[in-house]
Structures are given as structure tokens and as C-alpha cells.
Symmetry: C2
Subunit: 343 residues, 2 copies
DNA sequence: CTGAAAGCGCTTACAG
DNA sequence: CTGAAAGCGCTTACAG
């Protein structure tokens, strides 16, 4: 194929050019040719700009699929210049290094960079408000009357909350339903004396998991007991100590529903050290299904990738001025080796 | 200042243009003007290309400093096209979610993107070799006869090992010296019965820390005892269980040197549960000085940021074909509240 | 040893 | 509704 006006000398071509046409990734140029439009039009389609005839849009979309086109983020970023800076603001008291958060962050960064957005962490001021502002914000967790929410709303900065709160954009895992599923599973196996291992309840997710647990018990005619609620401090060590202490104090139970995999691991260790076998003597259910933690644990799987993707989706809606929405991401019971029928 | 040939209409300027000259970040253009050279020359200086007169280089460097210039990574990436892909290969058995690794990774990504490099993780094949190859590789940890080293050498792929091995580029914290410093500190406080809390010794860092510990003891005339070496499994829970068990079995000691902060936290919890006070009854030293873990812990601080930066520096040397070098990053004893004079 | 200029892949006024 | 063209900030043959 001879392109008129092609001035580049042969020397510029790399020596080892296996295939001439599909040289590297397809560009917006390739898509434009394929669809028979200009690059400008393709760009408008990519960015969902209004003012493209529906049929043209269709053609472009098809061409993109055919070529398996993915925009080059570097070029996009360079061109946009005024890059969208997305801030991440973490609720006070939330630890950064816990596995769940690390995974979420990984997915979030990935998701954002696909769109050419840059994530920066926003430290909190002493009054709990963000130190500075960005074009949009992801809030990880919120307290009961979190100042940041109204602060952002007043300044009409689009934001999405990982958690839930009336009247704002939010996304969260279905913690409540996870609590239900774990408990139903244990009830089904004949357990009635079920310990709930959690942390101090200033955290929405853990509150919801506990609520789901209690409601399910009551629906089955089992009264939740205050002394069955153990504080595992969200860590494996905390889970260990709480369970061990309960055991030493003579608390009797046949199952443990731990509100995180880490606490479940601690619980299992404590049971072992106290001469109890899992699942023969005591069944244990975790929550999260994190990699690298408790391989054979019966647990509630969260879709962290989906949560991150949804957060970004909602944020983009906010950036486009679309109405506030929220979404609940389903969880799923994964039955493995740490639960069994009550003896 | 009137620039001849300035064709851009006023309409293109943003409405809110506070200052006209220092509009946003300085570009390579600005540096070029400031230094009185062309952008090409500036670029050559930035990239350390040969063939720039020393005096010119100086001028450019100065101009960069004056303007506080930092290259735009998006533009760089777009222009380079053939971006350098750096692979990260983790030694088998290394957990990804441990805080130390998370921090290292954070710094590493940051460091690499400054140079427009992209980091991708390389999974291991079942034979331990990398699944695919990149332009350069960062190895995190290495086993005694790690196949990956010779594999990469054969293919002459530049790589840097976080750890140490003869004949290859490597960087590591001064683990041995950290072991010394921790032990000297305890000896100075009058302790002689010092437990060492570590993990199974298939890990260079932990071997070195233990070696430093033992050598220091012997130099002070104290014979290291086999029963003073406890397996804490690198986790707080493991540290707790190991120390608690030792205590229950009647092991006597006045101090613990834990080879990681996490194990130290577990150790302190176990001591507390067994009715011993820190540091009045037992002194505890950790290692790493991780954030969010044991705030008031006496520990050995590692400079993780420096390790990551050095890894990248060595890698760049490799990419330029320069001779193999290695570097040891110093550590530092931080005395806080968990150590005291022996009673 | 250095400068002028083309090009990386995208976006966006502007003109039609 | 769409195309032609300039521009984002950098790199790199090419020419001198």
C-alpha cells in the first residue's frame, strides 16, 4: 500500500519489522481509518462527548472492538494537560497497611490510570477535613457524622464513598448479607452457640456484618448473646487473644463467625493451642477471602476489584454532573475446610 | 515581554491566568531558554547522554535547579514509545501483603515512574523461573541457589537483587549491623539472657540479623544459646505464640531481640498476658521501624525508600551497560520505650 | 558538541 | 455533526 505524501525515509523503520501493518498497538489513527472518520470523531466517541451521530458512534465503537483498541494513557495525559487529580481520603483510624486496604488501593490505582486519572492521597487536617482538595475524591470509610461529606458537598466536589451514607454517591460490599450468609451456613450445620469475633464497632462494615448476623439468628429463634461478641481488634493477634481468653474463662460455643479472615486465623490458632480441633470441635467462618490468608478457610468472598471499579464508575458520573447513585456489590459464601456439622 | 512570532490568539488562554510567566510547571523549553541552549541539549543532559560539553551540562543543570524543573513523565513516556518495562520477581514463599513489602513496592513504583519506567509483576513458573521477561528485573529476595540469577545472566538482562549474592547487582539494608546494634544496646543495658525471635532461616535478611546478634554476643563473652532462638513465623501472632510457649515452658530471659516489629508486637502482648511488664521485667527490641506498628517500640530503623531508590539507580547502571555494583544501606538504632536497664 | 525539526498518540477550539 | 490542524512536553536522527 503506497501512501502519497509519505516522506519518512526507510532508515527510520526498525530493522526487525515483522509485520508491517499491525505494528505495535493500534492508535486512534488506525481506528479512524478503519471506521472511515477523523481522529477527532474517534476521540469524541472515546470520551463520550455529545454531538456524534448515533450511527457514526456505532461504527467507531465497532472499529475499536475490531482492532482491540485501547487508548494510550501517556498520550491522553499529555494532551489533556489539566489532568484529573483524584484524591484519596482515608477515615481517621483506618490503617493503611491492612491487606484489604492494600488490595483495594491496588485495584483503584489501576482502574484510575486506565482513564488517565492520577491518584493522590489527601492527608487529613487535625479537624478531620482534607488538607487540600482535588478534582474529585474517593473517601475510604466514613464516620457517623463525618465532616468531610458536607465539606465536599458545599464545594460541590464530586466524590464517592466506599461505605454508605444517605444522599451521596457510595459503593460498598454487601456486608449485611455477608453476615446473613455466614450465619445461615452455621445454622444449617446445626450450630446455635455462635461467637462473633469483630472489632470495636465504629466501623460501618463491621456493624453491618454484625447486624446481619444478629438478624439471622433472631429469625431462626436464637437470641444473640452479649457475651458472644468478642473484640478481635481486626488482627490475627487480636483474634487469638480474644478467643483464647474467652476459652480460658469458660465460654462455651460450637462455632465462630469472625468478621475478617485475619481474626479467623487468630481464632483457629487459639482453638488449636487450647486443644480444640477445627472443624471437628469448633467451626470457623471468616470474611473477605483475602489471598495469602487462611488457604482452607470457609469465608465470605468480597469482590474488591469490583468495588474499586464501581467507585471509579460513580466518580466519573459525578465528574459529568450526573445524578447521585449508589451501588451494593454482592458477596458470596465460600465453603472450605473450617466448618462442619455440629457434633 | 513580547515574543516575536507568537501566534496564539488570546482566546486560547485560560480566563483565570494569575501569573503570566510562571504558568504551571516549567517545561524543557523554559529550561532551554534559561540556559541559552536548545531543547535537544537539555534532553541530552536530562538523560545523561554522552556528548555534551561539561560547561554546557553545568549550565543546563543549574537552569534546571533554578526553575525547579522536573520532567513530565507523560510526555517522556509518549516520546520514548519503547518504554522500559521493569519486571518485579518475588522469591517463592515471600508474602506480598506484609507491610515491609507493601512499603517497598510503593517506593519502587514511585521511583520508577519518575524515570518513565513501568513496573510489572512477573509471576514465577512452576520451576521457579520467571513466566516472561522484561527489559530489566528487580528481584525481591533470592534463595541460596536461585535459578533466576543465572537465567537472567545468561540472557544478559540487567537486574538488581534486593538481598545479596556474589557477582550480581544488589542492594540490601545492613541487616548484620542491625543485629549488632540491637544486641549491643541490650548488652549495654546489662542484659545477658537475650532471646532472639525470628522465622525459619531460609531468608537472607533474617540470617544476617541473627548472625550479627550472635557475633556480638560472642564478642562480649556471651555464648548464644540454641534454646534462645524462637520461631515467630514473621507475624505478630507467631511472635505471640512463640514467646508465650517459651514462657510457659519456663524459659528464663531478660530481653527479646525480635527480628521484625510485627513479631516484637506479638512478643510484648504475650509478655503482658503472662504478667510480665515491658520494659521493667523484660526489654524488647524490634526491627524495621514500620509505621502503624508498635509506636513506642525500641527498634532498628530501615530506610526502605533509600533501598528502593538505590535499586533503581543500580538498575539504570545495568541498562547503560555499566559494571556490576552493589550497595549496603545503613540502619539505625531508635531507642524508645520498650528497653530498660536490667533489674 | 549543538540546533532545528519531526514525531510519539491523543484532545479540542475552529471552521464548515 | 464532522474534519483539518495545532498543540501537549518530550526525544532523537540528521545536519552542521
Amino acid at each position: 500500500m503506497i501512501v502519497s505524501g509519505y516522506k519518512m525515509s526507510d532508515k527510520k523503520r526498525p530493522m526487525i519489522n515483522h509485520q508491517l501493518e499491525p505494528t505495535g498497538r493500534p492508535t486512534i489513527q488506525d481506528v479512524a481509518s478503519e471506521a472511515g472518520v477523523s481522529t477527532g470523531t474517534v476521540s469524541r466517541v472515546i470520551n463520550n462527548r455529545a454531538g456524534v451521530k448515533a450511527i457514526t458512534r456505532q461504527q467507531v465503537l465497532l472499529a475499536m472492538q475490531r482492532l482491540n483498541y485501547r487508548p494510550d494513557s501517556a498520550a491522553r495525559e499529555l494532551s489533556l494537560r489539566q489532568m484529573t487529580r483524584v484524591g484519596l481520603s482515608i477515615a481517621a483510624g483506618n490503617r493503611r497497611l491492612i491487606p484489604y486496604f492494600v488490595l483495594f488501593l491496588e485495584y483503584l490505582i489501576n482502574e484510575l490510570q486506565t482513564d488517565g486519572y492520577r491518584l493522590e492521597e489527601i492527608p487529613s487536617r487535625s479537624d478531620g477535613l482534607p488538607e487540600w482538595l482535588t478534582d474529585a475524591v474517593v473517601l475510604f470509610g466514613a464516620h457517623d457524622d463525618d465532616l468531610r461529606l458536607s465539606y465536599l458537598q458545599q464545594r460541590s466536589i464530586p466524590f464517592v464513598l466506599v461505605g454508605h451514607h444517605p444522599g451521596v454517591r457510595w459503593v460498598m460490599p454487601d456486608d449485611y448479607n455477608g453476615g446473613r450468609q455466614a450465619t445461615e451456613h452455621l445454622l444449617r450445620l446445626g450450630h446455635r452457640e455462635i461467637v462473633h469475633l469483630s472489632g470495636y464497632m465504629n466501623n460501618q462494615s463491621f456493624q453491618d456484618r454484625y447486624q446481619g448476623h444478629c438478624d439471622t439468628l433472631q429469625a431462626a429463634g436464637v437470641q444473640p448473646r452479649r457475651d458472644y461478641l468478642l473484640d478481635g481488634d481486626f488482627t490475627s493477634l487480636g483474634g487469638y487473644r480474644a478467643v483464647r481468653k474467652a476459652l480460658e474463662q469458660g465460654l462455651r460455643f460450637s462455632a465462630i463467625f469472625a468478621a475478617s479472615d485475619e481474626m479467623a486465623v487468630g481464632a483457629i490458632a487459639a482453638l488449636g493451642d487450647m486443644g480444640l480441633r477445627v472443624p471437628m470441635d469448633v467451626s470457623v467462618v471468616g470474611f473477605d477471602d483475602l489471598p495469602e490468608i487462611g488457604e482452607s478457610l470457609t469465608t465470605i468472598r468480597q469482590d474488591i476489584a469490583k468495588i474499586a471499579a464501581t467507585a471509579v464508575k460513580l466518580l466519573k458520573q459525578g465528574l459529568l454532573g450526573q445524578p447521585v447513585q449508589h451501588e451494593v456489590v454482592p458477596v458470596q459464601l465460600i465453603v472450605r475446610g473450617t466448618t462442619a456439622r455440629r457434633r
